[in-house]
Symmetry: C2
DNA sequence: CGGGGGCTTGAGGCCACTCAACGATAGTGG
DNA sequence: CCACTATCGTTGAGTGGCCTCAAGCCCCCG
């Protein structure tokens, strides 16, 4: 692991911009980068929330554990996503890198300082929190009321949307991660994928099973019978 | 159904206070009351969000539906709770009164107008949204990874906490509501309650089955093995 | 080449669901 | 006051979907 100060001043997918700040607005906000090897804990549940994070490269899982080891992944954070944003003082999830991952860090304290003065910033914080809430609400419906094939279909469509673009999507997470996200076991996820493949909705590419091409989005959407 | 202007000026559990406003601060905010009979829709999913609501009396369920009728209740709103607060323009749940219910209404537009000027108000909006998010996150763990008895135990403890006080808690919602909140069927909820009763964790009071006395909170907490 | 991790597939079991019957309660109208 | 009905809750029997356990394959990597 190594730390380095962000050098590139390209104002592209920039944390400051995400929060509604221009680079010049506030020199208080320190913006550093940090790299994690695959499977490294970024922060733990109930740890004090010192930083807010943005994925620059890689992918992150946020999860809760029960004492006997059962795990529920609440969200995957992909390139560009901001995570670890807490309103209280402690993190409510454990966050781990799924693959080799680089994140941008913002000191929470400095963000709060800015937020107090700047209505735009706090407005953006509200928008981000609302987005997380919306995702959680949809996920409750999935976890409470959908069967395994419906869950996997919804997952694929979500990843297709969020991995934005590529005809073939390359999933960073394992079957176990997907299972713990969908409230299933890895075997059930595998069987659901097989059924969808046999039904012609998708196909595996390459020799690893994490590259998937969606052949029939309509069929997947048919499993996504929202309201 | 009837509408009437709120007469009582007791500044006690007052919507304005909840949003961080004193009564005198802003005369723009209209504060009216509305009464719903049992089982009445307050607003529907995807309807434009014109009002924000606070339960004065009664209880409300917020739910999403799948096209084939499967229902997931995302939250119960009890006395004092604020609901229907959206950041976007549309409601993301359908809200229905569970029993005869009186709510206070605030025009969303007027709230937004105030929020733009008042940092305290928008800060409170952020806090409320965060609270909802936290609840949803915990509920995902329940729906994804807990068995039926654990879910029912968690539900009872939540209601015990939120119905605040009374030794005997009087649940406003039916077994079906509880089931749709916990991602179970009503029969499974009933069986879980029976098991907990036979285990000595609780007891039914009266001839209706909705009045429950918790006899052994420790036993219930033992099912609530969080992290 | 051996070992380990990830994925698939099969066999069997269990927990929650489905279907059904029954009792209790509350509301309704004669 | 008493049927009559509808609603709600419990309980039982049987089913089914997902989980558990296990084996085997493939790929990567030392």
């Amino acid at each position: 692991m190594f730390v380095r100060i962000a050098k590139d001043q390209t104002p592209r997918p920039n944390s400051l911009h995400e929060f509604g700040m221009t680079s010049g607005t506030n020199p208080l906000v320190s913006l550093i980068e940090f790299a994690y090897k695959k499977g490294t804990e970024i922060y733990g549940e109930k740890e004090p929330a010192e930083y807010v994070y943005q994925v620059k490269n890689g992918a992150v899982r946020s999860y809760k554990l029960l004492s006997d080891g059962r795990r529920q992944i609440g969200a995957f954070h992909l390139v560009g996503d901001i995570f670890g944003l807490e309103n209280g003082n402690a993190h409510r999830f454990t966050a781990e890198s799924i693959i080799e991952t680089t994140v941008r860090l913002i000191k929470r304290h400095s963000l709060e300082t800015v937020a107090e003065c700047d209505a735009v910033v706090i407005h953006n914080l509200l928008n981000m929190t609302t987005k997380s809430l919306q995702h959680a609400e949809d996920h409750m419906l999935l976890l409470g009321r959908k069967d395994s094939v419906e869950r996997v279909a919804a997952f694929l469509l979500e990843m297709d949307r969020r991995l934005a673009g590529a005809d073939i999507m390359s999933l960073p997470m394992s079957r176990r991660d997907i299972a713990d996200y969908l409230g299933l076991t890895l075997e059930t996820v595998s069987r659901a994928l097989t059924r969808l493949r046999q039904g012609g909705a998708l196909d595996f590419i390459g020799n690893t099973q994490r590259e998937i091409r969606l052949l029939d989005r309509k069929q997947l959407l048919a499993f996504d019978l929202k309201s």
